[in-house]
Amino acid sequence: MPSSEADSKGQNLADGGISEMSKRWAVLIVALITGLTFSPILRVQTAAPQAAGGEARKWNNIPPRKSAYAGKKSSPAPRRDLSGIWDAAGLDAGIQVNGAFEHPALLPQKGGGAEGGREAGAGAEGGRLDETGIEHPLPYTPVGLAALKANKPSGPGVRQVPAALSNDPLDQCDPIGFPRMELYELRTIELVQTANRVIFLNGWYGNWRIIWTDGRELPKDPELRWNGYSVGKWLDDYTFIVETVGLNARTWLDHAGRPHSEDLRVEERFHRVDHDNMELTVTIDDPKMYTQPWLGVNKFPLHLLPSDFDIPELLCSPLDMAEYNRQISNAVLPSRPKK
């Protein structure tokens, strides 16, 4: 790749080779390095500071920061096409460590809403059984509120408990399931579009889903699945709508422990804004738990990454999890009072 050649030459120059260069050549190199420094593509590469040389740039790529996408011009969107590797700017927004992006389990901050609190990392106090006082409360039914209270999240938020006291199924390496894979740790995904389906690939905890586009109906009385049953259709040339049912209720909706029942229906709306940008909206509809549907993410930005972007692996190993619990999360629990 030309950029890595230019960069490695630049590094050599720094070691003292400059006096042997013609002035014109040196100017070219400087211009290249300066230009590439501020290009999002090189940020992808330089942000992966692993093995030396070109290898680091080919494997385990790290997406650029969200700010790198600002003001970037794009060509128009292709018709009826979602395929590509899409970045949810995980580190800046997609991780959703406080709960679904539109409803973080945080108290409002002075001088700003929960958004400001999220960015400051504040409002992360625990100990509340319910979510009274959060900025954008959810419309729980009595059954929903009871189910919420039974879920003990370890993430920063108003209900957090120490990790060892949490009953988050992910802390046992249970499958993350759908839609939690979009409402927590949404980082980099790949969408593969074929003649009769869209394949959703997620490097985080190794998830994949099939979204059928061959016109089949959703199942009426399905065997429940962690990722449910999904069908998709084009609303117009740039908007793809996915309906999902048949979801196993052992999963949480998000990292704040929001519950769902087996009656959950999820709508995903992928709107391709232009060639490089897509918006994802996820609607949660579960009348058993919530009195009305609500948005988990709303026009959440996804950015197209280069087609040779290598998505890093991050899997949940039960043995590694047990080791972490043994050495750290159990060991930091408050001492029990002596009887």
Partner: protein, 134 residues
């Protein structure tokens, strides 16, 4: 020309400092205290759910404490410039942490404040006498 080249290379190393959020909250840690641990690395685990570092350090009375200090998951640590080779056994380190509330020699990379223990890269880290800069 050398100046220009130096500028370009320096600019490419600019790091934007933003919080990195922990998927486990800091409920078990004292977010009002920053403790500086100075000692020798005995182990470095590059694993999900949390990367962690083990350091043998002497307390005020000269007893050796076996510290365990946790960071975030490997992917999040990679995003802020850590690698599986950032620490190795035998390294002499100075690291800032917030301590476990229960008094055990366990900590989390971070400094006291509103984002204590949620933002690994706020810690000052010195490895073998050199300030760690990813």
């Amino acid at each position: 020309m050398k100046f220009l080249l130096a500028f370009a290379l320096a600019a490419s190393g600019v790091i934007v400092s933003v919080p990195l959020f922990a998927h486990h909250g800091n409920a078990s840690y004292d977010s009002t205290k920053t403790v500086t641990v100075k000692g020798t690395v005995t182990d470095y685990m590059w694993a999900n759910p949390h990367v962690f570092l083990k350091v043998d350090a002497k307390d005020n009375r000269g007893n050796t404490l076996h510290w365990i200090i946790e960071a975030q998951n490997p992917l999040s640590q990679t995003e802020v410039g850590w690698t599986k080779n950032t620490f190795k056994p035998g390294d002499e380190v100075i690291v800032e942490i917030i301590p476990a509330k229960n008094g055990q020699p366990i900590g989390r990379f971070g400094v006291a404040g509103p984002t204590a223990g949620l933002a690994t890269q706020e810690s000052r880290i010195v490895i073998n006498g050199k300030q760690f800069k990813p």
